[in-house]
């Protein structure tokens, strides 16, 4: 395991707390609301209820109803209102209750959130964050389990971020809130209450657009993000026992992708396995393959493999674990690229 510089630093002098991902997010929001009066939270049930996952727990009590605003059930309406607020100098943080309920706001995002800066040649910029829990594996009802980051990675004008652990969750969230451009911040539901990590109490940020080398190896580059990180790591751990070692990279930002960290690793290993839970066709994996084709063609020793969600609607929960990539499927792919 490589300890990242940030993490190493964080673990030295600074005061830290042991937090889950959801707590780290709550903490990041708390820090930023405290720091900047122009920042406010909008969404369904974010106030008294503290969000259906408790991401905003306690924040309305602390900052008041103007800063943590329960909106009507109206995604286009409140994403649109956030756009208007951002025109007018506020920095809204919008919660979409589940990523699958972002669709009613799709037009607002595709035509305004992403295009305002270009449309006004920089006169207006929208400093706003849209947070959304995403992904399958927690026995949610239909539409609550979508992993459609690819839609947004294809939209010029918005960055797409997805942490896989508590430290990154807080740091990336703060970076997203401070970014002068719109950011879609995807939160892996499946990891919300998983492993705790030491998270600095103070404000810090993790740079957008940078992946992280989480595990080092020689044979294969494994690329993943969010809830697929533990799946990837379980598989590479198994592979290590069979003498196959992998670079495992947590991409963390899905647009723009960290081309450099990807190519550096691929040019070392020559073999690639990408793991994501979104549908295979047109998923972010296909863009990663295209980038590698571009940067590292001559280094490749095997066709790149994707281990992804299938080209089927995310099934109800009785089959969700069949839909999702498993360590077995990842291991299989690793073996395949090694044995090619």
């Amino acid at each position: 395991m490589v300890m990242s510089k940030e993490l190493a630093e964080s673990r030295s002098a600074v005061k830290t707390n042991s937090l889950t991902v959801i707590q780290a997010i709550n903490n990041g929001l708390n820090v930023m609301l405290g720091k900047d009066k122009h920042t406010l939270i909008l969404g369904e049930d974010v106030g008294k209820n503290g969000g259906v996952f408790r991401a905003t727990d306690g924040l309305q009590e602390k900052f008041g109803e103007n800063r943590v605003v329960d909106t009507p059930l109206s995604e286009a309406g409140f994403v649109g209102a956030a756009v208007g607020m951002a025109f007018n100098g506020l920095r809204p943080i919008v919660e979409i209750q589940f990523l699958g309920f972002i669709y009613p706001a799709f037009e607002q995002i595709a035509t305004h959130v992403t295009r305002t800066r270009t449309r006004t040649l920089g006169h207006y910029n929208l400093q706003m964050v849209i947070r959304a829990p995403y992904g399958s594996g927690v026995r949610s009802p239909e539409i609550h389990s979508d992993s459609v980051e690819a839609f947004f990675a294809h939209m010029p004008g918005i960055k797409v971020v997805c942490p896989s652990n508590a430290y990154d969750a807080k740091g990336l969230l703060i970076a997203a809130i401070e970014d002068p451009d719109p950011v879609l911040f995807l939160e892996p539901m499946r990891l919300y209450r998983g492993k705790r990590e030491d998270v600095p109490e103070a404000k810090y940020s993790v740079e957008l657009g940078k992946g992280k080398l989480v595990e080092q190896g020689d044979d294969v580059t494994v690329l993943a993000w969010g809830a697929m990180m533990p799946v990837a790591l379980t598989a590479t751990e198994q592979m290590r026992q069979h003498g196959i070692t992998c670079d495992v990279i947590d991409l963390r930002t899905l647009y723009p992708l960290d081309k450099d960290i990807i190519s550096e690793s691929v040019q070392k290993t020559g073999r690639v396995v990408i793991v994501h839970e979104g549908h295979e066709t047109g998923g972010v994996g296909s863009e990663i393959i295209s980038i590698i084709n571009n940067t590292s063609f001559l280094y490749l020793r095997a066709p790149m493999e994707r281990v992804t969600g299938f080209d089927v609607p995310v099934p109800l929960f009785a089959l969700e674990n069949d839909y999702l990539p498993t360590p077995e499927r990842v291991s299989q792919a690793i073996r395949k690229v090694v044995n090619f």
Binding site: G47, R139, P141, F310, D311, L319, D322, T326
Partner: protein
Amino acid sequence: MKVRYPLFQIIDKDGNLTNQKYEDKLTGDKAKLLYYHMTRIRTYDQKGVALQRQGRIGTYVPFAGQEASQVGSALALADDDWMFPTYRDHGASLTFGADLDRMLLHWNGRMEGCLPSRKKNILPASIPIATHLPHAAGAAMAETYKGTNNAAIAYFGDGATSEGDFHEGLNIASVFKAPVVFFNQNNGFAISLPVERQMNSETIVQKSEAYGIQGVRVDGMDVFAVHIAVQEALERARNGEGPTLIEAVTIRFGAHTTADDPSKYRDQEKINRMRDEVDPILRLERFMTMNGMWDEEWVKQINAVIKDEINTAIEAMESYKKPDVAIMFDHVFEKPTWTIEQQRQNLLRVGGRK
């Protein structure tokens, strides 16, 4: 607005007749039919909560308090009508004819349980709020297109009225005079948001003005009132008079879902205390008692039948054959594309999860 749209009521919470006009319709048989269905879905609902607690099904969505709204409306439909329910309207679906074991399978995350019935036109519970309202308009327009006499009903909550699809569905239905009833259950909350902060209008029914359609505000705890209001609306629909927006004022007694803790955002204790007073089933029981329709023997008997039916369905649900991963691939298109076929074979090769 409450003046313009007075609450339509036939019996009050003590079971007294408050509206003489409909006295004739309140026969013993009708009362028993309504009572039976309300009791049936209440029993099922209680079982749903219990099964979830025992970990035998996933998150469950209780509807206790809304039985009169769901039963009164569903029993107003004709056999070939169309029902578009939400996740909370399985009481209505069951009353209209959904298969009990299918419904339970659905709570178990089984795709085989998604379709409520193979016989009745009951659509799968709509999860994305308000998206099914345009469907109801379209299904109804298709009936007009085909020259039949069938109608559609769409169920939705107070929160749903804030979504664009509510507006677009009602507007389109109004323009084409679609034979559809938009049946709103205003249970006062959208998860944690009270209806007073969902909207600035005093009532939901007044939103009918925006579409130039009929609006009716009805006591959603009075099964007779709901039943008759929906019957009348369906009749107007069949007569080419277009859609009606009905606001059934009701109460969600319990949590939003079994994953929700209502005490976080409302005085749940107060609701628990007043439950019996406003309970729609007890209201009907009081009426039946006062009017000599109450038959203790019959009640015992239907309770036994219902219990039996539900237990059998639970058994069926729990002994249902294991989920087959193939069904996730086999119905995306009539013929799977090569991508889907390839993915399916790959999964089967690795073995999937057993």
